[in-house]
Symmetry: C2
Subunit: 248 residues, 2 copies
């Protein structure tokens, strides 16, 4: 089996492959966090680091699978992967109370696609906010243009969502249907919420998770009295990055 | 209702009191972490900081309750509190596999008393390690002497377990029956495991939790091939302390 991932999907696949003793190769982008690579390797998977972003890793992983007759698992361009991530939507509703809004960080669109599809069906009034760093808004800008294409990106604390969208991605149409509003947040807001989570909640969260919280804060004035969720989609921030943020 | 606590018990009581709208006063020792005091206040409880350690806080809280006809809830010297903490023992066994050893940090002895009582009944072969910082070994030394009394203590990262034991504490006899072995760990080992948990697991743990992990590491050579647990009994470390440890 072959996959591509900036980290968390690769870790999940590597864990599953380790448990089922299936040989796995994970293609990762140049900027992937060292911790994530270490964890992937610790589960016994092979890691191949490629030049460029996630999309480059996906293209090479897919080519490897095609040339060598292996199975490719996309980190988001796969209805079953999306459906798996959608179980978080189900979980959000099991609290038994109404949910007025949810903030979800968007990379390839699998998480928001899956969660959004569930919520559209089971809680149609829930407003779904797609959240991006200003520095890496790929799917957001593609949706605004109406088609998948190149989007300029620069460095972001949200390495977990950065990178272009694969041409023909099944997530594109789902995102178009489920996202009500786009929110873009600056890097300083992402850093602020990584720090606040450590200070107030004693939780380490990665940049992609802080994007959703920063977006919630940005829109909070419109959400007084509402029941709102933000999905904390990972904690695997590079330790050096964490310390830079916390010491600031 | 009145209680006394170095922090986590006070937070738990304050949460419960807030939910049930019962007025609560929490007596805390001089060295209690600022974060814990903030959290206790945020649930609506009144906080009174006293000179001295936990035992002093307990004595004053009990006096307040007696003089003003209020109900006093000891953080450990109470069979029901101990039984509540013992539910962790039940949880440890629900994994369905055998448990050969468990490492538990000891302050007043409520946690290890409750968990130990459950394990003695339901998993008699599980070896129970009582864990202390070398700098704050109160209950450990009392047990070794055979009676509750004064024990010299100095500063420790494990503020959650520091402080003397109340004369007549019901935990003393329970600890005598359930603890198989005493383990004492130096401050540098506590610091090391706070840092490693942040680096490798992306989890913030407080000193008292790191004491159990440091003790496990100390005894690891004797436990090869065994199924072993350490209880992570809190994450409410003062942020400044956390940053000092992580920057070292």
């Amino acid at each position: 089996v072959v996959t591509a991932s900036s980290g968390n999907h690769g870790m999940a696949c590597a864990y599953a492959a380790g448990e089922t003793r299936v040989p796995l190769t994970v293609y990762v982008p140049a900027g992937a966090s060292a911790l994530k690579l270490e964890k992937i390797k610790s589960f016994g998977a092979r890691v191949i680091q490629v030049e460029g972003d996630c999309l480059q890793a996906e293209i090479q992983a897919r080519a490897d699978a095609q040339n060598n007759n292996k199975r490719y698992i996309s980190p988001y361009n796969d209805l079953q992967v999306m459906a798996g991530q959608g179980t978080i939507g189900r979980e959000l509703l099991t609290e038994g109370q109404t949910l007025d809004a949810v903030f979800i960080s968007v990379g390839g669109g699998g998480l928001i696609g899956g969660v959004g599809a569930w919520l559209r069906q089971h809680s149609p009034h829930t407003r779904i906010y797609g959240c991006w760093p200003e520095n890496a808004p790929a799917m957001g800008h593609c949706l605004e243009r109406g088609e998948i294409g190149e989007v300029d990106e620069s460095d972001t604390l949200s390495d977990g969502t950065a990178g272009g969208v694969e041409p023909g991605a099944v997530t594109f149409d789902v995102c178009k249907q489920v996202i009500d509003e786009h929110v873009y947040v600056p890097e300083h807001a992402i850093a602020k919420h990584i720090q606040q989570f450590a200070r107030r909640e004693r939780m380490i969260i990665e940049g992609a998770a802080a994007v959703a919280v920063a977006a919630l804060e940005q829109r909070a004035p419109n959400l007084k009295g509402k029941r709102v969720a933000a999905i904390l989609c990972g904690r695997n921030i590079a330790f050096d990055t964490l310390m830079q943020v916390l010491n600031n």
